[in-house]
């Protein structure tokens, strides 16, 4: 039963990783941008959640109403003000600029919030649990997983059933021709980043409720999101959810064997899949 429990907990944890990964997957899909600062933006969202809840007394989930639009605005401004200038055929500018951004964000957070670990207080939600078939499942992990499924369904729907999604796909296919159709790619890219950071905000707040965080842990979250994307296969949002679940399960099973092995076994699972299925389990586009 212990192992079944570890398996189920790992799956639920995978929901959180899928939320980290969805934004990464989205911006890669639309503009072929890999954002090294993605993890630090997740942590920024967690800190914004912390500030909003402590300043207003709102429940962290209610704080999403403020943090999600704020992060979306930051995303739009970041894309139009900075990242659009890095796009082109050369790989180095986006990579090095987002890397610089990561260092700036990390140290900026350190300057404002110090290195002390923080946690978002969500009251009863943190400890509540439900019994399902002999397993005690935390309400928070179940909620996180449900949110991840809803978010990915929502992104998928946006992508394939709205004019915004159509514009995303058109710009991703051929930027010049999309411009001829009256689509301003700079604006579309801004919207894509806004959407991506909106999703990131949800991931950041759920992370902040679940565990304590400090400014240095962004890199680790970037890596988890990245692993979920690659395991699932590039360009496939449902694959990303599957990738998150596989990563989460690998981590909880590893932790069951030896607590020190949690993160390491996740990485090893990723490397194993990279070795046997370099394009991920459910690839849609080639990198």
């Amino acid at each position: 039963m212990d192992w079944v429990n570890a398996l189920v907990q790992g799956m639920l944890l995978g929901g959180l990783y899928a939320l980290f990964a969805a934004g990464l997957s989205l911006i890669f899909g639309v503009m072929r941008l890999v954002n090294i600062a993605h993890g630090d933006l997740i942590i920024l969202a967690a800190y914004l959640g912390l500030t909003v809840t402590t300043a207003t007394g709102l429940h962290p989930l209610a704080a999403l109403v403020i943090v999600v639009p704020t992060m979306a605005l930051i995303g739009y401004a970041l894309q139009r003000g900075l990242l659009n200038q890095t796009l082109g055929d050369d790989l180095l500018p986006p990579l090095l600029v987002t890397f610089g951004l990561s260092v700036i964000l990390q140290n900026g957070l350190l300057e404002i919030y110090t290195a002390d670990p923080q946690k978002i207080n969500a009251g009863a939600l943190e400890t509540a649990s439900i019994a399902v078939g002999g397993l005690q499942l935390g309400v928070l992990p179940v909620l996180t997983f449900a949110v991840a499924v809803a978010v990915i369904w929502g992104l998928q729907w946006t992508f394939y059933h709205t004019s915004l999604g159509r514009a995303f796909r058109a710009v991703s296919d051929n930027q010049d021709i999309a411009q001829l159709m009256g689509l301003n790619r700079r604006h579309i890219f801004g919207l894509a980043m806004a959407l991506a950071l909106g999703v990131t905000a949800i991931g950041g707040i759920l992370l902040g409720i679940r565990t304590s965080f400090d400014p240095s842990i962004g890199g680790g979250r970037l890596i988890f999101g990245f692993e979920a994307v690659i395991i699932g296969g590039l360009g496939n949002l449902w694959g990303t959810l599957a990738g998150g679940v596989i990563l989460g399960v690998a981590q909880t099973i590893g932790a069951k064997i030896d607590p020190g092995w949690q993160v390491l076994s996740g990485h090893l699972a990723f490397l194993l899949i990279l070795a046997i299925r370099p394009n991920g389990l459910f690839p849609r586009i080639s990198a």
């Binding site: 890999v34 090095l96 890397f99 260092v103 700036i104 990390q106 690659i230």
Partner: protein
Amino acid sequence: MTLQDYHVSRTSRAARVAAVLGGLVLVLLIAAPWWAGRADMRLMGELFLYLALASLWNLMAGYAGLVSVGQQAYVGFGGYMLFALTMFAGLHPIAAIALAGILGALASIPVAVLIFRLRGAYFAIGTWVIAEVFRLGFAQVTALGGGSGSSLPVAIVKSLASKRAMRESLSYWLALGAAVLVVAAVYLFLRSRQGLALTAIRDNELAAGSLGIDIWRTKFIVYVVTSAFTAMIGALIFLQKLRISPDAAFSVNDWTAFVIFIVVIGGIGTIEGPIIGTLVFFALRETLADLGTIYLIVLGVVAIVVMLKAPKGIWGLIRSRFDLQLFPLGYRVIAPSSNSAPAQNKGT
């Protein structure tokens, strides 16, 4: 003037002057133990090791297009190999440094096979995963102190040289030697056939492939050789520090972020860039380090601005203004009228 009046040359007056000046500076630096204080020597030793790391990263990212954010994997690996080989195999530290390089190369082979499957920016994050695997892996080795790390036993430190002054001089010379070796090796490599192939790949991967250059193999060689050198530098770094822990050995900030900033600010894809970048980086650090995190924010901002406004860095700005090249790689056609004004400069 006829075509015969033109001649093709690799060198230039600036390069010859630079070579002479460089030789003088080198003599002066070798003599540092007789004129510099202990603190200055420590600082210069650190500077040389950063210069070596930056030159290696520049070879990968600036020439081979392999942008890694995980070179700390090999810095830490080399450091740990120094500790393991001296403590458990009883090797002399200098032998351990050399062996750390060989082991670094061996470790990098399966890593390359795996992460070369990732393209572009995903390759970058893949290298970071590898570094994390190394960090978490070494944290599991209890004989090396696990997560809290260990110190180099006094007996091993003394085996290097019995007197402290001599040890300090020796470790300074090793750092200087490493920097000179790496810069010279990168320079000679880029002048070789392999190096020219690399430049061709950077300029146009598709065309280079159609010319019969085996791109995968060339990049693979660069990755393995760079990893070997990086591991040796790592061993040297921790021979200076005398203490190692997983977090210090595999720090992405110390061994990759700073190195990237050095190369970007100095000028990526040039041999001179890392040298200038290292000097600028240390000058900034010595004046602004008291500001702590603000200093790092400034560094990040400077790197972003340089990347966007002057993608070839400080050296690129200098070169475009004065047509200088201190480490001549390309061939240039010299017009007969003057030696200094090339008729055509196909820069590298």
